[in-house]
């Protein structure tokens, strides 16, 4: 085992880590927007919307991410759109994450005790205000720890976008492996970077969970 390999490629790995983080960030943010819509559909009273929401979650959680990524890649190619791989990568991550985030949000909404919206209704609140002032603030707070967890999962899943050629941590590790003929050091190096990122995120998660407990919201 030659640790110097890792040290020499430190710069490349750091750059690649940045790409990994950027791609994952884009994925989770877009995924949140889509996920919120899917969640709204899932809890809607209109049956057709409910079915669409349920189908979305079922499909995007059921089909493996790798298949989804390749599908988007070939789907876009089939229709003649020449999109850069990064678009396929981010949309793949986003659409997949949206399904998980929709369920997180739905769980959070259910976790808000019913009595609170009841009290609002009894006081004469309009539906919109019950949502805006009572349900949403609390649902968002409740969903932050699981959303941070989802971000950690997405970061690991982002290693799959290496197959469409994005120069993130896994791909760069592969490159280093083939250039230096030292796959052990290359992948250990990549792995260490992933671990480091995870450690920092897990730390954020712990802080967030502690701070959100103050103010009375469990």
């Amino acid at each position: 085992m030659k640790p110097e390999v890792i040290l020499h490629s430190f710069g490349y790995l750091t750059e690649a880590a940045g790409v990994t983080i950027a791609v994952s960030l884009a994925g989770i943010v877009i995924g949140f927007a889509v996920g919120a819509l899917v969640c709204a559909a899932r809890v809607s009273h209109r049956l057709s919307l409910k079915r669409i929401g349920t189908l979305y979650v079922s499909v995007f959680r059921g089909v493996p991410l790798l298949v989804q990524l390749l599908f988007i890649y070939y789907f876009l190619a089939e229709f003649g759109l020449d999109v850069p791989a990064i678009v396929a990568a981010v949309s793949g991550l986003a659409l997949s994450s949206a399904a998980y985030q929709a369920e997180i949000l739905r769980g959070a909404l259910n976790a808000v005790p019913r009595g609170q919206s009841e009290a609002a209704v009894a006081l004469g609140f309009a539906g919109v205000d019950v949502w805006r002032r009572i349900l949403m603030p609390q649902a968002l707070r409740i969903s932050i720890p699981p959303l941070i967890n989802e971000f950690i999962l997405l970061l690991k899943a982002s290693s799959l976008v290496s197959v469409v050629g994005i120069a993130e941590l896994t791909r760069v590790s592969m490159n280093i492996a083939s250039l230096t003929y030292r796959p052990l050091e290359a992948y250990v190096g990549g792995g260490l970077f992933y671990l480091a990122i995870n450690l920092v995120l897990a730390g954020f998660g712990a802080i967030a969970e502690r701070r959100l407990a103050i103010g009375g919201v469990r």
């Binding site: 059921g62 089909v63 493996p64 790798l66 989804q68 070939y74 290693s159 896994t170 492996a177 995870n198």
Partner: protein
């Protein structure tokens, strides 16, 4: 894509599916055994052991599965481990899942209500019996839903094996797609196939869960 093509490739697709099932079941089974062993070992108050086990779990849960596979398959020979692609795949699934199962079992042990342990010790049960007859069963029952969930996740991870050329289903489909220029149709069909598969397995899993935990609800116990 026509039926003719599909017929021609049916043997390789079936063999691919068989490899998928093989890797998933053997990998999952090994992972469960290893994960359980780790969870038990973590109850031994030996600091160096604790440190090692914690590091193991953190590493395999904190890094992507693909990186672990590359490490085993490409990096393995450099530490004297020459594995075939399939062997690397199965070992990879086993190690990856064992870390998650270890945490699931650990949480299961923690979920046993202290009161039940107290009831057993206050009636004079020996510590080993308390473990065997009270703590363990309760922990295992609590662990069933997350275990089922993890097994479903594992079934989806098998497609990653195709990247290190394990001849499972995804690999065969991609080979077929490349040879016949039907990439889009092939991937679409595979997506539908996996979706249906995961749906079925999920529903089966839910039923198994219900059966195992039935006695816990007022209406569920029978006989």
């Amino acid at each position: 894509m026509n039926a003719d093509l599909l017929w021609r490739y049916l043997p390789s697709l079936l063999s691919g599916f068989a490899v998928t099932v093989f890797c998933w079941s053997v990998g999952g089974a090994l992972g469960l055994v290893l994960g359980f062993a780790i969870a038990l070992a973590r109850r031994v108050p030996l600091p160096p052991l604790q440190w090692f086990l914690r590091a193991f779990v953190e590493i395999f849960r904190g890094t992507p599965f693909l990186v672990q596979l590359f490490l085993l398959y490409a990096g393995g020979p450099y530490v004297g481990l020459r594995l075939s692609a399939t062997a690397a795949g199965v070992l990879g699934l086993a190690l990856y899942s064992s870390a998650y199962f270890a945490e699931i079992f650990r949480a299961g042990f923690g979920a046993v209500p202290v009161g039940q342990i107290e009831a057993a010790t206050s009636v004079g049960m020996a510590p080993f019996d308390v473990l065997k007859r009270v703590a363990l069963p309760a922990a295992l029952i609590a662990a069933v839903p997350p275990i089922v969930n993890m097994l479903i996740i594992l079934s989806k991870e098998t497609v990653v094996l195709s990247i290190i050329t394990v001849p499972e289903l995804m690999y065969q489909v991609q080979t077929m797609a490349a040879e016949t220029f039907t990439a889009f149709d092939a991937i679409f069909a595979m997506a539908v196939f996996y979706w249906l598969l995961v749906e079925c397995v999920s529903r089966l899993g839910a039923r198994v869960e219900k059966r195992v935990t039935a006695f816990l609800s007022p209406s569920g116990a029978r006989g």
